[in-house]
């Protein structure tokens, strides 16, 4: 059975080569672009910035998925987090010194994401609404609201775009990395060492047992939905202040929140491993930008990311299921 597990990885590799071969750059182009990213310090630093929203989404999702709470709301929460930080910095009328502006942007993004996550959690805990569907719907609502703000009240100049945040409010890669590390470490400890983590795990693996042995499942859904939303919200702030700087109708839905879903599963729901996986994904994104100069469509990156996740999951599952008592 080991052989078929390895076969899954091989199939993934073949898939990537085939996809790359269909682009003007070819497989060689893809791998050389990746090689470029991994050998240039400036690109490696850029990759940290791009990893921000992906990793922030993934660490929270990892916890939620452990509880069997299959939300996909990270996309909307990232966006709402970005809107919240943009408001603090550009539209609130508060003239805060840069450090304070950044801090309050992060905080407000966190709160906004948390509240949005909580909506999904409340719907699930009290009304039994499927969290995947409700979070998907909320994603659309946030997207529509963002488009409204960008095209309407927040619009400046001839294009549908917002103000740009001042350079003093941009985040350098060490700051982004510190934020991500802090969240991942806290959540990893939460999952492995705390009572809440233990309960979350039990709830996800055996809801009936969790209920019988008196774990407060409703409250647990609220906790994980809030946590998950909060980290994704922070991801939105990291996106805006890390590299996006301006919100345009084009940039409001780049899919970082959805990538977080892929990353969380690929990291087997470990917050710390999610960091590494996000970074790998984000180097692929940077490589994708390089490849765009070869007229390779950027979506190729998403296809490749998805193939990688499928291959890794297949590898793990086959390894687990090969023999069971």
């Amino acid at each position: 059975m080991k052989a078929s597990a390895a076969l899954a990885l091989l199939a993934g590799l073949v898939g990537i080569v085939v996809v790359a071969a269909m682009t003007p750059a070819g497989p060689a182009g893809l791998f050389s672009a990746l090689a470029t990213v991994y050998t240039r310090p400036d690109l490696l630093a850029t990759a940290v910035l791009y990893a921000g929203p992906i990793a922030a989404s993934a660490v929270g999702l990892a916890v939620a998925y452990r509880a069997g709470f299959l939300t996909i709301g990270s996309e909307g929460q990232v966006l709402l987090g970005a809107l919240a930080s943009m408001w603090v910095i550009g539209y609130s009328g508060l003239r805060l010194p840069p450090v304070l502006a950044v801090a309050s942007a992060l905080l407000l993004a966190l709160v906004a994401g948390l509240l949005l996550g909580l909506v999904v959690g409340v719907l699930r805990a009290w009304l039994g609404v499927n969290e995947t569907l409700s979070s998907l719907m909320l994603n659309y609502i946030v997207l529509a609201y963002a488009n409204y703000l960008i095209a309407g009240p927040w619009r400046v100049g001839a294009f549908t775009e917002t103000k740009s945040i001042p350079p003093s409010c941009s985040l350098a890669w060490p700051v982004v990395l510190a934020c991500l590390l802090a969240m991942a470490v806290v959540l990893e400890v939460l999952v492995r060492r705390t009572r809440l983590g233990l309960a979350v795990e039990a709830l996800g693996a055996a809801p009936r047992a969790a209920e019988t042995y008196s774990l407060p499942s409703r409250r647990l859904y609220l906790y994980v939905s809030a946590l998950q939303g909060a980290t994704a919200g922070v991801g939105g702030a990291l996106m805006l202040m890390g590299f996006q700087r301006v919100l345009t109708a084009m940039s409001v839905s780049p899919g970082y929140g959805y990538m977080g879903i892929l990353v969380a599963w690929m990291a087997l729901l470990s917050p710390l491993a999610s960091l590494l996986a996000s970074y790998f994904f984000s180097t692929l994104i940077v490589a994708g930008y390089i490849l765009q100069s070869y007229r390779v469509p950027f979506n190729t990156v998403l296809v490749i990311q998805s193939i990688i996740v499928l291959a890794v999951l297949a590898y793990v599952m086959i390894g687990r299921r090969s023999r069971r008592p």
Partner: protein, 497 residues
Amino acid sequence: MEAVLRAEDIHVTYPNGVRANVGVTLEVRGGEVLGLLGENGAGKTTLVKVLSGLLRPDKGRIIYMGREVVFNTPRDALRLGIILAPQTPRLFPGLTVAEDVGLTMRLAGRGMGLQEVRRRLREISREYGLGVDPDARVWRLSMGERQRVNLAKIIMLDARVALLDEPTTHLTPMERRSLVQVMRRMASEGRAVVFITHRIGEALEACDRIAVMRKGRLVGVVERGEASREQLLRMMFGDYTPSKPSRRSGGPGAGRVLELVEVWVRGPHGTWAVRGASMSVEEGCVVGVAGVAGNGQRELFETVVGLRRPVRGRVLLMGVDVTRAPPLARRRMGMAVIPEERLGWGLVPGRSIVFNIAFAHAWLDGGFMVDWQSYRRLAEEIVSAMKVKARSVEDPVDSLSGGNMQRLLLGRELLRGARLVAAMNPTAGLDARTAEAVDSMLVEAASRGAGVLVFSEDLDELMTISDKIYVMSRGRLHGPFMRPFDYKAVAAAMTAG
């Protein structure tokens, strides 16, 4: 008689190192009921999993009608007419009985229209006395009813080899007798029936030959005429001789641990599942609730535990009204729960033994961090006190046999000193020795002062351990019947409207 199916030198070792089958060679003949006898963990289930394509052996061959076959999936076996009815029936909860059976027919390459399935199911049900309703939803059926659906399936498929894994687990004594008749009849039609059991009496009653397994090996095969109870016992257990659980004094009249007052509970479909049940469980007492599955026991149990809220009536724990209190509050007051299903309800599958001890305690113990060290010590204590056969407390619970899972579960729930123990079918599917051990642990909990409430379909068991027995029938509680029990009166109440 000719061998239909032959297992040759089958070896199976699980990833955790347990050698479940060690060089097993066994032949199944057409037209016979072959008993496969052994205690839990003897390797019976593993063997039939191999024979039905659910598990691939590390070594060994399967010969079917004189030809070697390799099963990649259960479907390969199904197409040859080899079907396994697992101990816990695996049917699709959302389908109707006819849809589920129709699906299996299709997988076996013998698809037919749904109307045809319903018609034939009705016929078979009538002919064999199975009482299967083709239009019932699977999730509403009790385990016993699901087991009968499996039997109907075997007959519908015209299976050549029927592998029945502990089919009597969820059956009442009467259903058991009719199962024996069905098995005999299937054999007389030329089929081979493999009947797994750990009850010697059943094996002697139903089987033409009895194969005994112990610790993964086939100890021997005896013909029905030559087999004696003592000989089979020796083969099963080596030189072990089982004893009766000791009875203690004390009993009704002491303080009430649990009291139900006129409790009405709705079932899954909004119909009344429990109709005005009143009962009490006293300190130091074992109270049994007997009855055929599906008469409201599950709903009553869930009401006691706090998983279901009664529409009318009151639940009192140590004299405190807990009718609206969640399980957490009840556990704080000293309630221990042994649920109907071990994996998924009592234990968390895929997690370690330590995790399974910790998760049930963590919310009661409080604190922000989990003290894994102390739970590890507690797990080790439980494992050694309850004689759980486990290599390490870090092993997943799934790697334990059913009996060892139940020991672990009992240890977790009882060693803390419970005041009320609520147990649902605690010995279902266990071998004689483990079942006895479980029963004596429950009795022991009572002698330490706990009130023990046991739901069981096994009337003999309840009569051995209980101080008083209620009978549940169509949502109503009859009794209490007190010691010494009048078997006829209790049995009559079970079938009363």
